[in-house]
Symmetry: C2
Subunit: 418 residues, 2 copies
């Protein structure tokens, strides 16, 4: 069955004050995890992305500002809701839960504080599918969704009752991929193609994994091959008539000193040396998949037993080489658009090629001997936005203000006069 | 006379602790003023830069971090010296001189606190030429230079005694360009071609003007035409055997609100309303050429008569929407690498699409009715670096740390094994 025989609901729906007018075509938004703009530039130049090149020629390519911290859960949650982390409540992959005092993964939909636009679309006549590479994201992103939702990682465990689909590997024609692989992302795109092809979905969110970007710089051959693989699937989605919106959750930078080794500040260790006990550093990049980054990112939260010491600790941190920004709870909430109750007493950001860790014991650098690539800070905030349709005058104007990556559904649904 | 018949001094020279080993070829470093990476991406994709495309394929393209404030004089001074503004002493185009209490242009070489590598190259057997679009930069950048130095703006006024050359328009084969034009930049590149062609120079710094980038977004046809024009000259330099290094002094962003009009905070006005007199706002983007940006940029300096009020003013500024960072003198000097005696009591940065002004009377927005594009803040800090030769293993490693735009001569001279 071809999607051409189907009709698509164009019923507008409103989420968090924005009206979305879906097109009379399938629509797919792709979040290329960790896709700094340089990955597109290098891959386009190398001739690895002819489909994307054609899409950009007909449509739009520009930069959008992501949410901080520039981590996966934070930005995926913002993208599927269209609002900032202050509203979603998702401030990291991992946090110190104030109610329990426990350090927990922020993986559950119980942490999400607002409605998703995927849910709203599914309630307004669209056949919604949400496919992620990593299982960790599925629960949050499928919150309120009456449709299909599964991860590549656990594709074989999807059942109709809970996932809206089953026999996914057969549908996709691929085995369940290894999570630390290019295939984990390619499977998500292939699943998107299969879902559209078989008219099982017409409003898709496809969220990849950044394993490859953590591992390879944009010019390296495995990265170029990976982007070529993505390009083939993106071309297939376009050929199936999809309106496409492509962005990233965050960028990616090398985090090495001049000798090529990871440039890490073990912040809990040095703060305890300087100020004694009662200081806890939380690394919000922490998730169940740390092989490729050792839970080292460019933003951490600090919790203090004694808030009276905050001014001197803040002052000391500002003077620390490698630290670029230090905010108390209120200022971080205001300036970084974060939920005040789900961040540290201090939020600390690092420079372009620095990461902040907890203690040496806490981080496993075994797999990082050829250097570290990571994200989380200000220098991974800007990411690409690609749209398959040309922008209307109005959206061109918005694109020349301060567009955000979590405006991607707005731009993809509403951004064109076509 | 062709440059092929010449020999080129490969004598190493040391400036500020770095050794430069110039190649046995002509070398040209080009600073494309205001060249955000998106300008290259759009122009490459549109097929307007085939020469640059070939250069990148054979060489390197990546991102480097500029100096803050992301203004022209600051970064050009850093580039020709290889050191930060803390060392050069050039902290803006315009500042409040502490010795005199006067607001002055920072255009004179008397403000430059250190040796330039152009000067050093000229003392070690290279035929150095420094060509700028704007006259304002000539004096600073030619400090200590025994060679050729002139501006496109006053090309017809160059005389051997003071500029090392005369009859420039005849040499270039072009009339003196209008300063508010694409030609002002193209003339600089054409002059570079003529100087190499006639073996008058073999170590060049060519610094353009950002009039076009202030006026046009990357996708607009006049910008694409401008970049195509630059590409032709860049190709000619390469065909003449030049080793090329290309970077920018700063990026460029639209600074408009959602309705497309310039998004300005008149900081002196609102601070005086809130805190009374004794507050002076200095806009370091101010230079003799303000038609295209109205002296509005994303970073300003604040001088206070009464330093006792600094904490409350700082706190108030942090809470102001559109303001992204606020630093006192010491912290700005440390974190932004600035000369402590040539900045304000407070240094204030704005968000991606905001600019900071003084008072409404101070700025002329007449020419900005279709919107404002400008720079000066954090979101114009990252700029491209393109090199015509492939990087050595060592410099590839450095490029994957935190390379700076003022490392461009180092990368161009030393960055390749070829």
């Amino acid at each position: 069955m071809s999607s051409h025989q189907d009709s698509f609901s164009t019923e507008p729906f409103v989420v968090h004050g924005r009206t979305y007018c879906p097109p009379a075509q399938p629509l797919a938004v792709i979040c290329i995890d960790g896709c700094a703009d340089e990955y597109l530039s290098e891959s386009l130049l190398a001739g690895c992305m002819p489909q994307l090149e054609a899409i950009i020629r007909d449509g739009y390519r520009g930069l959008v500002r992501g949410a901080l911290p520039s981590f996966t859960n934070v930005n995926n949650s913002a993208i599927v809701t269209g609002v900032t982390p202050a509203v979603t409540g998702i401030s990291g992959n991992f946090f110190l839960e104030p109610e329990s005092g426990e350090e927990v993964m922020m993986n559950s939909s119980r942490f999400l504080r607002c409605e998703t636009l995927l849910g709203a679309a599914s309630q307004h006549g669209r056949k919604v599918a949400m496919v992620t590479a990593k299982e960790k994201l599925r629960d949050i992103l499928s919150s309120g969704l009456a449709g299909i939702a599964f991860s590549a990682e656990k594709a074989d465990q999807a059942v109709v009752e809970t996932h809206g689909i089953e026999n996914v590997p057969t549908l996709v024609g691929q085995p369940v991929p290894e999570i630390y692989s290019a295939d984990a992302s390619l499977f998500v795109l292939q699943a998107g193609v299969a879902l559209v092809q078989q008219a099982l979905a017409d409003f898709l969110y496809l969220s990849l994994t950044d394993y490859m970007q953590h591992k390879y710089a944009p010019h390296e051959q495995p990265s170029l091959d990976f982007y070529a693989g993505m390009d083939r699937e993106i071309g297939r989605l376009r050929d199936l008539g999809c309106v496409l919106g492509i962005t990233a959750d965050h960028g990616m930078n090398a985090k090495n000193s001049d000798d090529g080794s990871p440039q890490v500040i073990y912040l809990e260790t040095i703060l305890r040396e300087e100020f004694g006990d009662g200081i806890k550093v939380i690394c919000p990049i922490t998730d169940p998949y740390v092989v490729h980054h050792g839970a080292l990112g460019s933003l951490v939260m600090i919790h203090l037993d004694d808030l009276g010491r905050l001014p001197e600790i803040s002052q000391w941190l500002w003077n620390l080489p490698g630290v670029s920004e230090v905010y108390d709870r209120q200022r971080a909430a205001r300036k970084l658009e974060l939920p005040e109750d789900r961040i540290g007493d201090l939020t600390v950001l690092a420079g372009r090629n620095w990461v902040l860790g907890r203690t040496t014991q806490y981080h496993d650098l075994t797999n990082l001997q050829t250097g570290l690539r990571s994200h989380g800070g200000r220098y991974e905030e800007m990411v690409p936005m690609v749209l398959s349709r040309p922008l209307s005058t109005r959206y061109r104007q918005l694109a020349e203000g301060d567009p955000r990556n979590f405006d991607i559904f707005d731009f993809t649904c509403n951004g064109s006069d076509e």
